[in-house]
Amino acid sequence: MPEIDASQAERARWMSCLSQADPASLEAAWAGLHPSPPHRWLRQPETGLVMLRGRAGGTGQAFNLGEMTMTRAAVRLEGDRPATGFGYVAGRNRRHAELAALFDALLQDETRRPALLSGLIAPLQAPAEAARASRAAEIAPTRVDFMTMVRGDG
C-alpha cells in the first residue's frame, strides 16, 4: 500500500462517508446550496464492475474476492476555485455517484470545507460510528482469548 499523507487521509474519509451516505441526505444538502455551484461533467455516471481483492487471513496472500457493481462519476467545479471531484458508489444509483462527486469537489475548496465537514459529513458519520461502536460492545463479551504455549523444536 502506498504511503498517504494526512490531507489525503482526510479526503479518503470524506469520500468514504459520501459513498456510504443516504442519497436523500446528499440531495437535500445539494438543494440547500444557494446558488447552485456551476459545474460540468467530466465523466457522466457510468455503472460497471470492479474486482474486490482480499488477503487470506487479513494479512496474507492477495486473492480475488469477487466482483461488485459500482457506479462512478467525475465532475469539474467551475468558478474561482475550480476542483475535480470523483464519486464512487456501490450499486447502480447514478444520482448518488453524481452527488458524491459534486461534494468531493466542493470539499476540496478550503473556504467551503469547514462548513461542509461540520454540516454534512459529521452528521452522516455519527450514526454509522454509533452503530459500529454498539455492535462492537455487543460482541466484546463473547471474545475468547487463546493462550498457546510455543514448544521448542527438540
Partner: protein
Amino acid sequence: MAETMPHSAATSPAFAAPGRDAQAVFRAALTALSEPGRVIDLPVELETGLPVGSAALALLLALADGDTPLWLDARASDAAGFFGFHTGAAVVAAPQVARFALIADAAGCPPLHHFALGEEEYPDRSATLIIELTRLAEGGPLILSGPGIADRRQLSLAGLAPSFLADWAANHALFPRGVDIFFTCGTRLCGLPRSIRLEGRCM
C-alpha cells in the same frame, strides 16, 4: 489541498452522449476503411483546447482502451492526461510498442517502419496511425487504388512531409504486414488501409 490534476485538457469532458457518439465514430471508421479515399464527416464536437481536431480525438476516444498503448508526437503530448483519463490507454514513449499513434504534426511524422508492423501470422498486431493534416478534401493530385475502390479515388492533402509517398510505398510492399492510417482534418476523416496504392502528389 493541491489539485490532483492540472487544468486544461486533462480535465476536459469526452463524448457528450457516450453511447451514441462512440457508435457514430465506429460507423465512420468502418466506412472510411472499407471505402478508402472517401472523406467522411464526423459530427462529434469536442472542446479540449488541444491542437488536434475533433475527428482525431473522437477516433481515439472510441477505439483506444487499457489494452492499446498509445504514442503521441510532441505536438500532441498535452493530450496524454486526457486519453489516460477517458480511455485508460497507457501513453508510451517507444513508437514500436504502440497500437495507436496520434500525429498532430504531420510533417514531423516518424518513418512508418518505426511503428509496429505486425507479424506474418498476426498482421493485425500492428499500429494504426491517426495523422492530422492541414488540408483534406476529395479530388486532387493524389491517386488511390486498391481494395474498396472501384477504379481510383483522388484526394488533396496538405501537411505531410515530402518523403511520405516513398515511405508509404515501402509500407505497401510489406503487405500483409504494415501500418494503417486515418487522415483527419478538423471534423473530417479518411481511411488509408495498408492495401491501398498511392500515386501522384501529396501537395
